[in-house]
Amino acid sequence: MSWDYVSGILILSGINLMTVLGLSLLTGFTGLFSFGHAGFMAIGAYMASSMTMKYGIPFFIALLIGGVSAMLVSLVIGKLTLNLKGDYFCIATLGFGEATRLILDNVQYFGGARGLSSIPTQGTTTLFNVIIINIVAVFVLVSIIRSRHGRNMVAIREEELAAQTIGIDVFKYKMMALAISALYAGISGGLLAHYLGYIQPIMFKMVKSTELTIIVIFGGLGSVSGSVIGTILLTFLPEILRSFYNWRLVIYGAAVILIMITRPQGLMGGKEFSIKSIIKSAKKFINFVRQRIGNKKEEVKS
């Protein structure tokens, strides 16, 4: 494996991770399921690309414009559906994702089904930039989660009615989680466009949305580190298996199913990966072994 190849997959992981982080907040922490986040990626991708290609706007500002556009659209969708019961939102996101793709297919300004090409890739979505953006994204996300705002979102996930009776404006916090996740997805789309150098509506199908949500569940709902590890694993796996081309998606699927059966709470299952927790589990393990040995000795004695 050459470095170029590995760094390419790392960049793709980082791009996926941006959307997954946002989805983690929405699904893992607030309890809302979306099947349309590829649509927000598409909005970000097309907006950011038009900004750099047609108006010569600097890359980072273009990314931000892409992200904010996706966020604004998400606010409209949220306004219409988040007041309804959970399932409507889920269905609405599905419809939104597909509608976005179909609209892009037919808008000549954005190249129709052929999409946009010759998007600048030099010095834009580099591994360095992707890593920096992801570090900022993780930092922002964790800070939100560890504040009263994040706790309110978790309360909604856990027990919506009780959340209301302790004075949480459920609608507002759902909107907030959706808006942040759409912002992240939009930025992710912009990164993708400037990595590949071209974009087509077909890249943002429902399968893409589902894949992203699967990663969040795979990593463990309510765990940021789970999302990070899950994204890297599930982006690398199909690439490593590329030589078994026909079988790679089967193995991918099998790996996901295996995890969900053996660990239904996901890889990290609501826990965070930290040095402290490693030490804690190590101690537990040592104690366990000690007890075992102790028991054996007692058995021998008696």
Partner: protein, 260 residues
């Protein structure tokens, strides 16, 4: 002054009248009991006060403000909080996190200061944590603070719900069968605790309960409901001697004895 007033409140579910023309007024500082046989409409009254259900007819006033077309979270922010008969804790969170979450109204830092961790953030977070510590200690939950809510024994879950409700600094606290699942000893403790928090926080308490010892021991006045219809209102002594109440309660029990 009346903290809570129900004026001719009626709630119908299709053909069923769960609450039928109910009126009562609760004074500041009172512990007010709401009793009645199963299905009498007690919990429905709580759901009407907290805007989880909409009123069919009549009005509810809280501190002389009409509660109309408000959302449940707005009612909570006005100073009315409650517990649930079928416990609704944040199950996967620890006792500590349950209360800490509910303290959120004691801070007002916005989302940007939670990202930047500047200004009010640190100060207010520390305040929230101190407040949580205090509430857990008060409710005798300190030793259980790191236990996940769903793993707590039933009695402690009910206490945790009260702690969570108190986190909002309510003026009116609604308790829906707080002693359900507790043994007599725990019930007596809870009775003392309810009095203590009433005094300490200057609260008014509305309490639904089937444990007659608790109700008679703790309430200043009691309102009796039967099939949604008001039956009696008075002091514990008056209620115990009220013929209609005895009929509604004992009448049923005599029947069950007869069946035996």
């Amino acid at each position: 002054m009346n903290v809570l007033s129900l004026n001719n409140v009626t709630k119908r579910f299709g053909g069923l009248t769960a609450v039928d023309n109910v009126s009562f007024h609760i004074e500041q500082g009172e512990i007010f009991g709401l009793i009645g046989p199963n299905g009498a409409g007690k919990t429905t009254i709580f759901n009407l006060i907290t805007a989880i259900y909409s009123i069919t007819e009549g009005e509810i006033y809280f501190n002389d403000k009409k509660l109309q077309r408000k959302k449940p979270y707005e009612i909570a922010n006005m100073g009315v909080t409650r517990t649930f008969q079928n416990i609704r804790l944040f199950k996967k969170l620890t006792a500590y996190e349950n209360v800490l979450t509910a303290c959120h109204k004691s801070a007002d830092y916005n989302i940007f200061s939670s990202i930047m961790r500047i200004g009010k953030f640190k100060l207010q977070e520390r305040y929230l944590k101190n407040k949580t510590d205090g509430l857990l200690k008060l409710m005798g939950l300190w030793d259980y603070k790191d236990i996940v809510a769903s793993n707590l024994p039933y009695g402690l879950q009910r206490k945790l719900e009260i702690a969570r409700a108190l986190a909002l600094d309510p003026k009116l606290l609604l308790l829906d069968e707080p002693a359900a699942g507790m043994n007599p000893e725990e019930t007596i403790q809870l009775m003392e605790l309810i009095k203590e928090i009433r005094n300490k926080f200057d609260l008014t308490v509305l309490i639904i309960e089937h444990h007659m010892d608790l109700i008679m021991g703790v309430c200043d006045r009691i309102f009796v409901l039967n099939f949604g219809i008001p039956l009696a209102l008075g002091t514990p002594k008056e209620i115990q001697e009220n013929k209609k109440v005895i009929e509604a309660y004992l009448g049923k029990e005599e029947k069950t004895y007869a069946e035996d």
